[in-house]
Amino acid sequence: MTDRPHRSYRRPLLASVAAAAALVVTASPAGACGGLVGENGTIQLTRTSTLAAFHDGVERYVTSFEFTGEGEEVGSIIPLPDVPTEVVRGGDWTLQRLAQEVAPPQQELLAATAEAGDSAGRAEVILETTVDALDITVLRGGGEEVGRWATENGFLLTPDAPEVLDFYASRSQVFMAARFDASRAAELGQTAGDGTPIMLTIPTDQPWVPLRILSLGLEESRFVEADVFLLTDDEPDLLAGGPGLSLERSEAASASLLDDLRSDVGMEWVPEQMWFTYLQVAAPAGELDYDLAVSADDTTLPSLVDTGVDVPEIRPVSAVGSDRSSWPLALGAAAGVVVLGVLVAHDRRGARGPSPA
């Protein structure tokens, strides 16, 4: 009696966060629209750009909300890896500078050529603040609790939202809800297309980059394209939960990039050296059901759980021919040795038979 009908829609509402690295999601035909919750659909979130940088156990998460259309209120809910200690207005051009790093102006491109991705209770409001026309609320709670808070506070959740909220709440019960007040935007002189950058400071030791959120509310066949930028102290190890994520660049960040980022408002924390990673997400929304797990130091491996999918679907993200592409094999071999050892020990105990009473 349970023929589950085909689903042509996928997860609507969140834009999420991450941890150990920097994520920038740039606008694309279908990309980065996750998280929109409109009162009547007249306001559309056209672009969500995000930078998540991990340095010394602290993530700085910078994202920009850009809306267009008419209406009074619209919002977005973003899953966070941990509780932020601060939410402030982000730098003026950090996101643009990162986008420029991989899409330089034509003349720079030419020059470079010449040289050579409750029933149980209520959500707890942890933090509330306002940044320009955005009312920001950081919540702690399960998927049902956060969903209920959202609906009680005027967010119109799409049908895939409950599953997506549960998906993220199973790993971190911290979410950020951002509501865009069109009336206040008008008072502030903001017009359609203006973006509002915000930066969250999140101490965390469990970094991950949300990708599934990009497919929120999209039909399964809708293609999602996004640029993902990571900035970490060391070269990261990456695990994803499926196809559609390619590693385009992995290198020491240039001094000019770090100097430029450091000179923006609130970006003085950028250290002298960081590792720069650029990935591209290109997948149908129906297949983008995973996140990106990141390990930012040499002593730990990315969490399998943080990919959001079952083990058979997990795959490493590494450049073709990279020496680091062999680390998952080494991990698998090591796990195999341990399992074999346990089985052998168990067989030996069994061969000895039960101990006499």
Binding site: T2, R4, D118, G143, G147, P159, E163, L165
Partner: protein
């Protein structure tokens, strides 16, 4: 069956349902495929989680008055609309966010329980669905097969 006829029968069923003592039996339709339920008064429990009905198909005998109990475990609102093609066509735009107490139609808020009745008097197929925006496309649709009584 014409919509008017369905409405009259359903309305009659509602009255009958309210006036009938609880002589029927309750069942949990989420348990999986089973034989046709009915006739008489039957209670069918339908759960909703992650915007999916707990059942996609139900078989009832003609002459059965089904009491639908809808438990919405999602934090968002849903609805259960039972009826023929004309009834569903009238709801397809999802413009009614809340439904008045019409037989076979019930709105259920997040975390709430809803109740409605529907009389299945003639053999055939009747759809049930949630017509809130995007919900049918997400898969919130199912079918009730009304079979002849031996």
């Amino acid at each position: 069956m014409r919509p008017g006829k369905v409405a009259v029968r359903a309305a009659l069923a509602l009255v009958v349902g309210v006036g009938t003592a609880a002589t029927g039996y309750a069942m949990d339709a989420s348990a999986g495929p089973q034989d046709a339920v009915g006739p008489g008064r039957v209670r069918v429990e339908i759960g909703i989680e992650h915007s999916q009905f707990s059942i996609g198909h139900l078989q009832v005998e003609e002459g059965t008055l089904v009491e639908f109990v809808v438990d919405n475990d999602d934090p968002i609102a849903h609805e259960l609309i039972v009826g023929d093609a004309d009834v569903h066509r009238a709801h397809e735009d999802g413009s009614e966010l809340r439904h008045p107490p019409v037989p076979g139609e019930v709105s259920v808020g997040g975390g709430d329980r809803g109740l409605t009745y529907f009389a299945f008097d003639e053999p055939g197929r009747v759809e049930f669905a949630c017509h809130l925006p995007g919900h049918v496309a997400y898969g919130m649709v199912g079918e009730i097969e009304v079979v002849q009584t031996d």
